[in-house]
């Protein structure tokens, strides 16, 4: 079998030297590999289509109402100096942002103090319950938020009786809908290192459980936990359904409210939020891509580049 070279069905003649060619120049395309052209065409096309609504949003924020073709940054300026005389009031928006940020903090606390310990506990003590926990955590994806909301309305009447009807109480409900997003990265991370062996080793060296968790387990879980937290933040900031039904002002509900008064400023904030979330996720993405030893490798590469430049 090995006597038959792959190039026997080559699309191009094998004029390349057999010498160790870099991967990029593999002559025959076999399997799923596609041409560079196909990649560029598809990605450019889809990318452009996806860019259109975003660009349209930006163009919209630059418009001057009533004067087509006149563009300015006036609406951006008005965010900071609202025209009180025209009855424009952005306080709900800023209030909504504040509420959403508070909900974010509590939701992240739910992930770190409730979900994460439970997942570690299952992994260390009751690994056979892993499937049960997974089922519970993935379940909220199956139940549409709007269905849960029908049940949240009566539940929140009780919650309001205990905690009052402050916006932060929404975090309990939001904490449920982010479970699937928080669960996945943490679960993947747990699979990626030998949690049980490490903790046994640490225990046999005399570490107490808190020390083992703090100094051995959590440092290994950084990637998973960080992605879980950031995803949770993104979902919380984008959450609309629960807040609107429980009549709380959050970023999203305020956005919709403001859009009826001042669509320009609403769009500015929407655009800013989309870009902010995008950057946030690119940052975690890069974070996730960094492997142990990467930093040294990258530093070495930088050094090499610098020395080449000076040479």
């Amino acid at each position: 079998m090995s006597a038959v070279p792959l190039t026997s069905v080559a699309v191009e003649p094998t004029t390349e030297p057999a010498a160790p060619a870099p991967r990029a120049r593999r002559a025959p395309r076999v399997g799923a590999e596609h041409s560079r052209l196909a990649r560029v065409v598809i990605l450019t096309l889809v990318g452009l289509v996806f860019l259109v609504p975003i660009v349209a949003m930006f163009e919209f924020t630059l418009r001057t109402s009533g004067k087509p073709g006149v563009y300015s940054f006036a609406h951006y300026a008005s965010v900071l100096h609202p025209d009180a005389a025209a009855g424009v009031d952005y306080t709900p928006l800023f209030q909504g942002i504040q509420n959403s940020l508070l909900i974010c903090v509590i939701t992240v606390a739910i992930v770190l103090l409730l979900l994460l310990p439970t997942m570690l506990f299952v992994e260390l003590r009751y690994p056979r319950l892993r499937r049960v926990l997974e089922f519970v955590c993935i379940l909220p994806i199956t139940i549409p938020t709007i269905v849960l909301v029908v049940g949240f309305v009566p539940v929140y009447q009780r919650v309001a009786a205990i905690f009052g009807s402050a916006p932060w109480t929404l975090a309990f409900a939001v904490g449920i809908i982010i479970l699937p997003y928080a669960f996945r990265p943490i679960a993947t991370n747990i699979q990626a290192f030998d949690l049980v062996t490490l903790s046994e080793a640490a225990r046999s060296l005399g570490g107490s459980w808190p020390v083992v968790i703090w100094r051995v387990i959590l440092p290994n879980m950084r990637r998973g936990v960080i992605s879980a937290v950031f995803l949770a933040v993104a979902v919380v900031l984008g959450e609309y359904t629960i807040a609107s039904f429980l009549s709380q002002t959050t970023f999203q509900t305020a956005l919709l409210l403001i859009s009826q008064q001042d669509p320009y400023v609403a769009t500015i904030f929407a655009l800013a939020a989309l870009i902010f979330a995008g950057i946030l996720l690119v940052v975690i993405g890069r974070f996730g891509a960094i492997r142990p030893g990467d930093r040294e490798r990258r530093a070495a590469a930088r050094l090499a580049r610098a020395s080449r430049r000076t040479a």
């Binding site: 069905v9 196909a38 439970t118 003590r125 309305v153 449920i176 049980v196 046999s204 609309y240 919709l256």
Partner: protein, 320 residues
């Protein structure tokens, strides 16, 4: 001794129960509790689940049960099947039809285009910058959009939208000639497809990456063309994952609410009808027709998710 005591002390396997308890008497280290060594400790350990279990029970199980159960009670609080008659109501039937149509079309479009993008991404480095950006943008648009996507599309194809005006001025074509396209149920297909494609990229990419290079090489050695490779090998292998992702897109569109709520004030899809029901008749905070609609949605979701898990299991066969 330490190394011997650990597997027992770890106490991960229930069958080692008697051995575990004997180990606790022989190994002094166990007193400090590497694991649950005695039956008493074990039962105490179960308490570790209490906070999470209580939370899930209060905010997931109870609301879900209430949502469904509320459909079976009359306004006066007695048990009834009367509410199920709502499914005979033409506006509610229409809402289900609308939801199914929008979800199905956007899911199919999203799946096909998303799969093409995955195909295009195949040769790129998994940890590279391009992939990171695509992943990040996909997560944002798939999960975070909602109200903001509605704004984006108003700015694009609304009455004064960027694309609307451009089409009008260059081709004299008005996409909103039959009334605003975006503010009708079929118009929802456009923004829904817009957030379905990124979701497809996120869910289908792992399957695409699971295509082993060796399969392609094997096919090539046996003389298969790339066309044959795709039709005979790659497509059958990818099919379960593809249809699984398609179902997920369907479920996602079917249950999404924010975009539609920001665009349409009337009903027309099920989530909006639930909203109407909840806001119009809040007797004791339990809106019964809303409960029935919630049940209807849940039934559809359960069916979809059942097939999804079936397909996932098939798809998993080819991965790793």
């Amino acid at each position: 001794m330490t190394t011997r005591s650990i597997p027992d002390a770890k106490d991960l396997e229930a069958p080692t129960r008697p051995a575990g308890s004997s180990a606790s008497s022989t190994a002094p280290r166990d007193a400090r509790g590497t694991g649950a060594s005695s039956p008493r400790r074990r039962s105490v350990a179960w308490l570790g689940f209490t906070p999470f279990a209580a939370y899930v029970l209060l905010f997931l199980a109870i609301p879900a049960v209430i949502a469904v159960a509320s459909g079976f009670f009359s306004a006066s609080g007695s048990f009834t099947f009367q509410n199920l008659q709502a499914f005979a109501d033409p506006t509610i039937l229409k809402a289900f039809q609308g939801s199914l149509l929008v979800s199905l079309v956007s899911a199919v479009l999203g799946a096909v285009i998303g799969a093409l993008v995955c195909f295009a991404l195949l040769g790129t480095k998994a940890e590279g910058f391009l992939r990171t950006v695509v992943d990040a943008v996909s997560s944002v648009l798939a999960q975070f959009g909602g109200v903001m996507l509605a704004f984006a599309f108003i700015a694009t194809i609304g009455f004064q939208g960027f694309v609307t005006l451009w089409l009008k001025s260059t081709f004299g074509f008005d996409i909103n000639s039959d009334g605003a396209l975006l503010y009708k149920v079929p118009g929802l297909i456009i923004p829904y497809t817009y957030f379905s494609i990124p979701l497809m990229i996120l869910t289908f990419m792992p399957a695409m990456e699971g295509l082993k290079a060796t399969w392609g090489e094997a096919a090539a050695t046996l003389g298969a063309t790339r066309r044959q490779y795709w039709i005979r090998i790659a497509m059958p292998v990818l099919a379960p994952a593809f249809f699984g992702s398609l179902l997920l897109l369907f479920a996602n569109s079917f249950s999404s609410f924010a975009t539609a709520a920001a665009l349409l004030s009337q009903g027309g899809i099920v989530p909006l009808t639930i909203k109407q029901q909840l806001t119009s008749e809040t007797i004791l905070g339990v809106a019964n027709t809303a409960g029935v609609l919630a049940l209807g949605m849940l039934v559809i979701m359960v069916v979809v998710m059942f097939f999804y898990s079936l397909l996932q299991r098939r798809a998993a066969r080819w991965q790793r």
